[in-house]
């Protein structure tokens, strides 16, 4: 086992999923002469939560058509998370996110167009040309989403180290709250890698398998969230002393049973709906009781429809779980109506093929054709991740023009954690739910620009990691 040292790095990206690829790309724009290095435990062409592809970009404002403004996103995320959002960070992500999506399209990602809208003049406000799945989501043919985006990072980084599992961050000798790099090992060769860097952007993703998965026996190993996501985004930051937020906020999702096929396109685009074992709509029955518990601010059954407020995800899950506990399960998704339309049937299948092939495999294996059989849904086991409908992660600084007057929200560099020189993106940033793939990429871009500024401002001068410290980190790393 060799020790390989990469020295004089300016920007080290740990984990190049959607956040990390955005960071590496943007770092080159603002840091033409800076040394940008990626350390990724898999291969960035197919790593992270988007590895298998996605069928929708879940965060796109459409400000160019006046569809939504950033503050609309803030209101939506705040409602869904029942108040627990960093509004400054959410606004900041939302005002930039469309520019990332437009670049993805330029790079070749096939965004679906709405044939009814494509020819509208650009000034026809309120009507965008992309195929909307819902108010925030646009539909894509995204099997190759990750390799396309990875290309942008590979072209712009000085070097991409694939197969490096980063285990610890390095801290500066003189200032113990200043990051100085990271260490890890190659999962194929076992070689030990030391990265000495002025700044580190952690985009190492959320965590599966903290809670016992529902799928047991022969189905063990199948989870909704990427099974290889081991929570490094949090482990690395917590050990470095970064302040964290909302770590008790876990995400549970209603998904197609056993295959974890997503339901977004089914509900929003195919207009399929759920029913209990008796064929009854059950969700609204639980709302009066829930409204009493959470208050009108979050569940206003009389006015919900008119105010276009979403019903918080956790409350809908609660209705689902309560109905099953009351003995009226299982819950089915009524697909047999929508699937009679060949176009909708195609969307229904391709939605899985482009991101959750296992669901298609399972249906083929069990002869479930949703055109004739309504498939079963269930709630997933809990996960810890901060970019979906949850906002756990590090407490980060916001941008100066928004957060600058509030010391608790601003300490100089956008998306910097409370550890100097240590930045986050995507799942690792707390208080920013509903960023999703595009928003995570955007956060990577924001942190990379700020990291360049941090270096240019001289904040990384004189960093040193003593040999004895390196040895002690190595001992920790190899005793894992």
């Amino acid at each position: 086992m060799k020790t390989i040292i990469e020295d004089n790095i300016d920007i080290l990206v740990v984990g190049a999923g959607l956040g990390g690829t955005g960071a590496a790309y943007e770092a080159r724009h603002w840091g033409r002469d800076k040394k940008v290095i990626i350390a990724e435990k898999a291969n960035i062409d197919r790593s992270g939560a988007v590895a298998q592809g996605l069928y929708a970009i879940n965060c796109y404002m459409g400000t160019r058509w006046g569809e939504n403004n950033p503050e609309d996103h803030v209101r939506y995320a705040r409602m869904d998370l029942m108040g627990m959002v960093r509004e400054d960070l959410a606004f900041d992500m939302a005002r930039h996110v469309d520019s990332a999506v437009h670049k993805f399209e330029e790079w070749g990602l096939p965004l679906m167009k709405d044939p009814k809208r494509a020819d509208l003049p650009a000034d026809d406000l309120g009507k965008g040309a992309y195929m909307r799945e819902g108010r925030w989501q646009i539909m894509i043919h995204g099997e190759s989403y990750k390799p396309i985006v990875a290309e942008a990072a590979k072209v712009n980084a000085d070097k991409t180290f694939n197969r490096i599992m980063v285990t610890h961050l390095l801290m500066d000798d003189a200032q113990d709250n200043r990051v100085a790099g990271a260490v890890g090992f190659n999962v194929r060769t076992g070689n030990y890698h030391v990265f000495k860097s002025k700044t580190v952007i952690v985009g190492a993703g959320g965590a599966s398998n903290i809670f016992k998965p529902r799928s047991v026996g022969e189905g063990a190993g199948r989870v909704w969230y990427a099974p290889w996501s081991s929570g490094s985004a949090y482990g690395l930051l917590i050990e470095a002393g970064a302040k964290m937020t909302q770590m008790e906020n876990r995400i549970v999702l209603a998904r197609f049973k056993d295959g974890y096929g997503p339901v977004g396109a089914y509900f929003l685009h195919l207009k399929t709906y759920t029913q209990n074992a008796y064929g009854d709509e059950y969700e609204s029955k639980w709302f009066p009781e829930l409204a009493e518990r959470v208050g009108k601010a979050y569940l206003d059954t009389e006015n919900q429809h008119f105010s276009h407020k979403p019903i918080p995800t956790c409350l809908r899950n609660h209705a689902f779980i309560s109905e099953v506990a009351a003995g009226r399960g299982p819950i089915h998704m009524v697909t047999v109506e929508a699937f009679q339309d060949p176009h909708l049937e195609e969307v229904g299948w391709e939605n899985f093929l482009g991101m959750t092939v296992g669901q298609a495999v399972l249906w083929a294996a069990t002869d479930i054709d949703p055109k004739y059989i309504n498939p079963e849904l269930t709630t997933s086991e809990p996960y810890v991740m901060g970019s979906h409908a949850t906002g756990c992660g590090a407490w980060c600084s916001g941008p100066e023009d928004i957060s600058g007057n509030i010391p608790e929200y601003f300490w100089g560099y956008n998306r910097m954690t409370t550890v100097n020189g240590l930045f986050g993106a995507g799942d690792s940033v707390g208080g920013t739910p509903h960023a999703f793939s595009s928003g995570s990429f955007t956060e990577g871009r924001l942190s990379a620009k700020a990291a360049c500024k941090y270096i240019d401002d001289g904040k990384a001068e004189g960093i040193n990691v003593s040999q004895s410290k390196l040895m002690s980190v190595k001992r920790k790393s190899s005793n894992l």
């Binding site: 033409r32 072209v155 026996g217 022969e218 083929a364 002869d367 054709d369 620009k449």
Partner: protein, 102 residues
């Protein structure tokens, strides 16, 4: 020893895929256990593979003004594809308040 008590995904089905970066397509053939078949074809890219990704080393340096602004690469023009600027609290008539409020 683990003994499977029921078969989770019985054999006899198949999901075959052909992904072609040259053509920019992905083709699926799904065979159910009972022999039924479904075929799907989707695009995976609209451009020759990797041809449109910029290497910033070949682009003009950002200005000092851009560095000191809140703008990212290709912004503001790539946000709205018109001459609109970046949204700010001021431009949108908003004020940020500290803490949790309703």
């Amino acid at each position: 020893m683990f003994v499977a008590t029921q078969t989770f995904a019985p054999l006899g089905h198949s999901v075959r895929v052909i992904r072609d970066e040259e053509k920019g397509t992905i083709a699926w053939k799904i065979k159910f256990r009972d022999g039924r078949e479904k075929n799907f074809l989707s695009p995976i890219t609209t451009k020759p593979w990797g041809s449109t990704i910029p290497d910033f080393r070949n682009e003009a340096e950002p200005t000092a003004e851009a560095r000191n602004s809140e703008l990212l690469a290709f912004e503001p023009e790539s946000i709205r594809l018109d001459d609109g600027g970046l949204h700010t609290l001021e431009s949108n008539g908003l004020k940020l308040v500290e803490g949790v409020y309703y």
